[in-house]
Amino acid sequence: MIQVRGLTYQIAGKLILKDLTFQVEKGEMLAILGANGAGKTSLMRCLAGELQGQAGGVYYRKRIIKSYAIAELAKFRAYLHQQNNSSMAFLVEDIVRMGRYQQRSTNAEQEATIIREAMEICAVNHLASRSIQALSGGEQQRVHLARVLAQIWDQREAILLLDEPIANMDMQFQHQSLAIAAALAKAGFTVVAVLHELNLAAQYASRIMLLKAGRKWADGSPCEVLTPTNIYAVFGVNTEVEISRKTLVPQIGAPAISLPLASFNSFL
C-alpha cells in the first residue's frame, strides 16, 4: 500500500531522513519509535505527502504521491497531527464533521451516522455541543482523532497516519485509541503510528520500526525489534525485556535511575 524508496529529506543542510526504504501493506499497523528528534514526524509528513524528499519518494498503490491531487489524497488518507490549532472556538461536532470535507458523495443520513459512530468510539459524543476550547488536552485529542477517523470511516482500504495519537490521553483512552487503530488495520486499513510508549506499541502494533538519527535501525515484529540491545542503541536506556508467556508480547521494564543533585545543579 505505502512504499518508501530511498527517501532522503534534509532541511537547511541538516539531514533529517537518510535513505529510508520500507513498505507497509494493508492490514498492517506499523509503529514508528525513536528518540526525540529522530525524524519521526518528518517521516510521517513525507508519508502523508506534505513534504517531498530531496531524493527518493513515497508511493501509494505504486503511484508516486506527488502525482495525486490534494483532494484525491484526502479521500483515502487521513492524518492526525501532534498539535492542532484551537484558536477558534468551534463546537466539537462541527470539528468532527470537518473531517468529511472532501467526502461529498455520501448523503446526509450516512454522514450523520459516520459522525455519530466516530464520536461514540472516541467517547466525545457527550461533548458534541461544547466548544473545543473548553476541553482538556486529552479530550481535544480525542475530538481530533474522531475527526480524522470520520474522514475515512467508509473507505475500505484507507491509510491512517497517527503522529503521537495518545500523548495526552489517560490510560483508558490510550488503550482504546490504539485498539481502534488495530481493529481498522485488521479490516484492511494501512496504519502507521508514531508512539513513545514501548509497551503499548508492543501490544497493539503488528510491526515496529526503530528510527535513529533519520535512519532505520530495526524493523520487524515487536519480539524481534524490542530487545534490550536495540532499545539501548536508540534510547540510551537500560531495560529488561520479558516475553509474556500468556500473550507472547514483549514487556519492557526500565528500572529507575538516580541522579545525584550536585551532578546537575550547582546552586542547591
Binding site: 490534494i70 479521500k75 484558536s87 477558534m88 472556538a89 462541527d94 470539528i95 466548544s131
Partner: protein, 345 residues
C-alpha cells in the same frame, strides 16, 4: 436556527436604518414621500409635488445610502474573510496594507495634482483620486503577498509582519508628503484619511458595485474551507484543501472589495475588525455564518454611522471614520466584557 434569527434581525435593522437615513437630513423626507417617489419611478404612483424633495432623495440621499451599504458590506465581509486567512480574530484588511497603500496614493494625488497630474486630472476628473487609491491598495497587497511567499507557499506569519512593515513605510511616506502639503491640501488629506461618504454619486455607485458585489457573492462560498483551515494549514491540506489557492483567492476578493471601498470613501477604520468579531460573539465562529452576516452587519453599521455623521451637528458633517470608532469601540468593548466568560464555555 440561531443564525437564521440573527440574519433576520440584521436585515430588519438594516431596513430601518436605510429608511431613517433616506428621510433625515437638511431636507426632511417622510416615509410616505419616500414611498411615493419610488412608486412614481416604478410608474405606480403620481409624482410628488415638491420637485426639490424628489431630487434630494434620488440624486443625493439614495446614492449616499447605497454607497454606505456597499462600503460597509465590503469592509465587514473582507474583515471576516481576512481574519479567517490569518486564523486570528485581531487581523483586518488594513493589515494587508490595503488602507496604507490607498492612503499613500491618494495623498500623492492630493498633494501633487496641481504640479504633475493636471493633464490626467482633467481627463479623469474627480475619479483620479479613487483610481489612484485603488491602485495603491492593490500594489500594497501585492507587495505584502509577494514578500510572504517562500518556496511557492505564502507564510501567514511573514505576511502579517510584512503587512505591518509596508503599513509603517507607506504611513511614513504619507506623513512626509502631508508635512509638505499646503493648508488646503492638508484639509483634504485629513478628510480623506478619516473617511466620508459625501462623494456619493450614481457614477461612483456604478463604479464600485461590480468590485464589491463580486466579493460579497464569492466570499461566502469560502466559509466551509475556511472553517477547516482554522484547524491549521497542514490539517486543511490533509483534509483536501489547496490552502495556497484558498488564501490567494480570498486575498484577491478582499482587496477588490476593500480597495474599491477605500477609493470612494477614504479610510474607515474599525469596521473590518469589530464587525466580524461582534458577529462571532453573537452566533459562534462558524465562517459559513460569520462571512455573510458580517456583510449585513457592516452595511448596517456604516448606514447608521453615516446618518449620525450627517445629523449630529448640522450643517457640519463629521468624518465617518470618527463616528465608527467613537460608537463602535464602546459598543464592542461592552459586548466583549459581557461575553468574556461565555467565550470559554
Amino acid at each position: 436556527m440561531r443564525h437564521l434569527t440573527i440574519y433576520i434581525i440584521l436585515i430588519i435593522a438594516l431596513g430601518i436604518a436605510v429608511i431613517f437615513s433616506l428621510g433625515l437630513g437638511a431636507v426632511q423626507i417622510s416615509f410616505q414621500e419616500v414611498l411615493q417617489i419610488f412608486g412614481n419611478k416604478l410608474g405606480i404612483a403620481s409624482p410628488l409635488k415638491e420637485e426639490l424633495t424628489t431630487d434630494v432623495l434620488l440624486i443625493i440621499r439614495l446614492p449616499r445610502v447605497l454607497l454606505g451599504i456597499l462600503v460597509g458590506a465590503a469592509l465587514g465581509i473582507a474583515g471576516a474573510a481576512i481574519q479567517g486567512v490569518f486564523r486570528n480574530p485581531l487581523a483586518e484588511p488594513g493589515l494587508m496594507g490595503i488602507s496604507a497603500g490607498a492612503s499613500l496614493f491618494a495623498v500623492l494625488i492630493i498633494a501633487f495634482e496641481v504640479v504633475y497630474f493636471q493633464s490626467i486630472a482633467s481627463l479623469l476628473g474627480y475619479y483620479l483620486l479613487a483610481i489612484a487609491a485603488f491602485i495603491g491598495a492593490t500594489v500594497a497587497v501585492f507587495i505584502v503577498y509577494r514578500l510572504s511567499l517562500f518556496q511557492g507557499k505564502s507564510l501567514v506569519a511573514t505576511m502579517l509582519l510584512a503587512g505591518i512593515a509596508i503599513n509603517a513605510f507607506a504611513g511614513a511616506l504619507t506623513g512626509l508628503i502631508s508635512y509638505l502639503a499646503t493648508e488646503q491640501q492638508l484639509r483634504s488629506i485629513t478628510f480623506w484619511s478619516l473617511g466620508s461618504l459625501a462623494g456619493a454619486t450614481w457614477t461612483s455607485i456604478y463604479a464600485i458595485s461590480p468590485f464589491i458585489m463580486t466579493a460579497v457573492i464569492a466570499l461566502p462560498f469560502y466559509g466551509r474551507p475556511l472553517n477547516v483551515y482554522a484547524l491549521g494549514e497542514s490539517q486543511a491540506v490533509m483534509m483536501g484543501i489547496d490552502t495556497g489557492k484558498l488564501k490567494l483567492r480570498i486575498i484577491i476578493f478582499s482587496t477588490l472589495a476593500v480597495g474599491a471601498a477605500v477609493a470612494f470613501s477614504g479610510v474607515i477604520s474599525f469596521v473590518g475588525l469589530l464587525v466580524p468579531h461582534t458577529i462571532r460573539l453573537f452566533g459562534g465562529v462558524d465562517n459559513r455564518y460569520v462571512i455573510p452576516a458580517s456583510a449585513l452587519a457592516g452595511a448596517f453599521v456604516l448606514t447608521v454611522a453615516d446618518l449620525v455623521a450627517r445629523i449630529l451637528i448640522p450643517p457640519v458633517e463629521l468624518p465617518i471614520g470618527v463616528i465608527t470608532a467613537l460608537i463602535g469601540t464602546p459598543v464592542f468593548l461592552y459586548i466583549l466584557m459581557r461575553d468574556k466568560s461565555k467565550m470559554l464555555s
